[in-house]
Symmetry: C2
Subunit: 156 residues, 2 copies
């Protein structure tokens, strides 16, 4: 099945100018995925897929990622209910990055509780020093209620 | 200087809920960057920055990446003229991904000649087979004219 879905990478012309899906997975077998809210056009998260989760995403129409911290395929929203239905999937010129536009039930996507994982912007003070400024004032949900005792996926 | 710009990662609370810029660079010293056109909200590219190019991007307000194929800091647009002026920069929950919104002079960003690097979508036929469908009909510029004999950055 996998051989039929993903073609072998043969030439730059095939990869850049062709119509065959021939993705490049990195040394860890992963490809980065930009996840955008199809309505607001806000970036919700940057995730990673391996071959199996990429295949599952295409076949089910729901975003499946590979969790690098937990080392498992991760059906996004299975715990939180915040399933991401894929409305459009694009791949870039050299086919080593994916951009999906998704519909999210419940309008939140981040394990910290915010709508987007990108809830802070990098701001510069008059003196040139840098800090982060929150762009979302309130959390959309309480992560403790949703995830309970699950370990935090953030790695220092 | 670098120590002042990027803080040490001390705790999950600091990284996720704090206002300090404490990015996580991967084993290659890189952090992925989602680049969006600030007006159309289209994703133009997924690039990577190392510490130095991240710092240059903040200080100059113009996107600098690290080219993984050429292994150099890459001031986007220096050859093509398609400079990306950063209008907003965000960082994600665990600070291992960046999202920038940019203004591009000339409205093209992709070395293949298209407006966006994501010029093909993944489409499914009635029989379930997968192909790529072009979303841009014409190239914005002729890469041969702009880049001449520069080696193609795509790696198979």
């Amino acid at each position: 099945m996998k051989d039929k879905l993903f073609q072998k990478r043969i030439s730059i012309e095939q990869v850049e100018e062709g119509t065959e899906l021939a993705p490049k997975f990195d040394e860890q077998g992963l490809i980065p995925v930009i996840t955008m809210d199809v309505h607001s056009k806000e970036i919700l998260m940057l995730g990673y897929m391996n071959k199996d989760s990429f295949e599952l995403s295409i076949k089910t129409g729901e975003a499946h990622y590979y969790s690098r911290s937990r080392k498992v395929i991760w059906h996004k929203g299975k715990t939180s209910g915040l399933i991401q239905k894929i409305r459009e999937m694009r791949i870039d010129d050299d086919q080593d990055a994916i951009w999906i536009q998704v519909e999210v039930e419940g309008s939140a996507s981040c394990h910290v509780g915010y709508r987007s994982c990108f809830y802070r912007k990098v701001s510069q003070n008059a003196n040139g020093s840098i800090h982060l400024e929150f762009t979302e004032k309130e959390k959309t949900f309480d992560p403790n209620e949703v995830y309970g005792d699950s370990p935090n996926p953030t790695i220092l």
